[in-house]
């Protein structure tokens, strides 16, 4: 399908790259996002809303940057989204870019869980789940030490 993006222009996206987000992203909406990546091993991907050209979020695999990151959901939330074991889902976190590489951060509080073509942005109830964690911090041990 063809997707218009204010960031990337007109994109041709294979339909299996389009994910349904029944409740959208928290506070910003959207219902169908194309998961875009250029390089197989690139660190970052984008979730581009297929009908809202202005809505695209950069995302990454949190475990590349934070090996001890955990996603914990309440039983109610897990049941609601139909994912009882977060390890069965693909986990992505939203990246907030910054001119200063040291300030580029990941949102570990509200990860995105993707399973069977459906995505949900959830609130992580793990004890370590900062809203803005510098990508280069390496994770919680270094934060605790610093």
């Amino acid at each position: 399908m063809t997707v218009n993006s204010s960031r990337f222009g007109e994109l041709e996206v294979p339909s299996d790259a389009v994910l349904d987000f029944p409740e959208g992203m928290i506070g910003v909406g959207g219902n169908r996002f194309a998961l875009l990546s250029r390089e197989e091993n690139g660190a970052f991907k984008w979730l581009q809303e297929t009908a809202q050209e202005d809505l695209a979020l950069p995302v990454t695999d949190p475990f590349q940057f934070f090996p001890d990151y955990e996603v914990v959901l309440s039983d109610e939330e897990a049941q609601r989204i139909g994912i009882t074991d977060p390890s069965q889902a693909e986990v992505l976190v939203v990246v907030r870019a910054d001119e200063d590489p040291g300030q580029v951060s990941a949102n570990l509080l509200a990860p995105i869980l993707v399973s069977a073509g459906v995505g949900h942005q959830v609130l992580n109830e793990a004890t370590w789940a900062p809203l803005r964690e510098p990508l280069l911090s390496g994770g919680r041990q270094e934060v605790a030490a610093g």
Binding site: R38, A56, R80, A97, L109
Partner: protein, 73 residues
């Protein structure tokens, strides 16, 4: 905005599926019990606002990391 007075143990019904009960009142704080259809998401407002602001900032930010810009599929 509708304003309703309730005592501890009393409830408010919103439609047929949402029940809010005053569980405890202590000092300046109120504990509420909420029963709602499971497909509804329930947030503390300030947490929702912080995540919303972060999503908006991420969607706006310039992003020039190598390999981050997708090309034509």
């Amino acid at each position: 905005m509708l304003t309703i007075s309730r005592r501890v143990g009393e409830r408010i019904l919103i439609g047929d599926g949402i029940v809010i009960e005053v569980v405890e009142v202590s000092g300046g704080s109120v504990r509420l019990g909420i029963t709602a259809p499971k497909e509804l998401r329930i947030y503390r407002e300030e947490l929702w606002e912080r995540v919303k602001a972060e999503n908006e900032a991420a969607a706006r930010a310039d992003f020039n990391a190598p390999g981050a810009r997708p090309g034509p599929a």
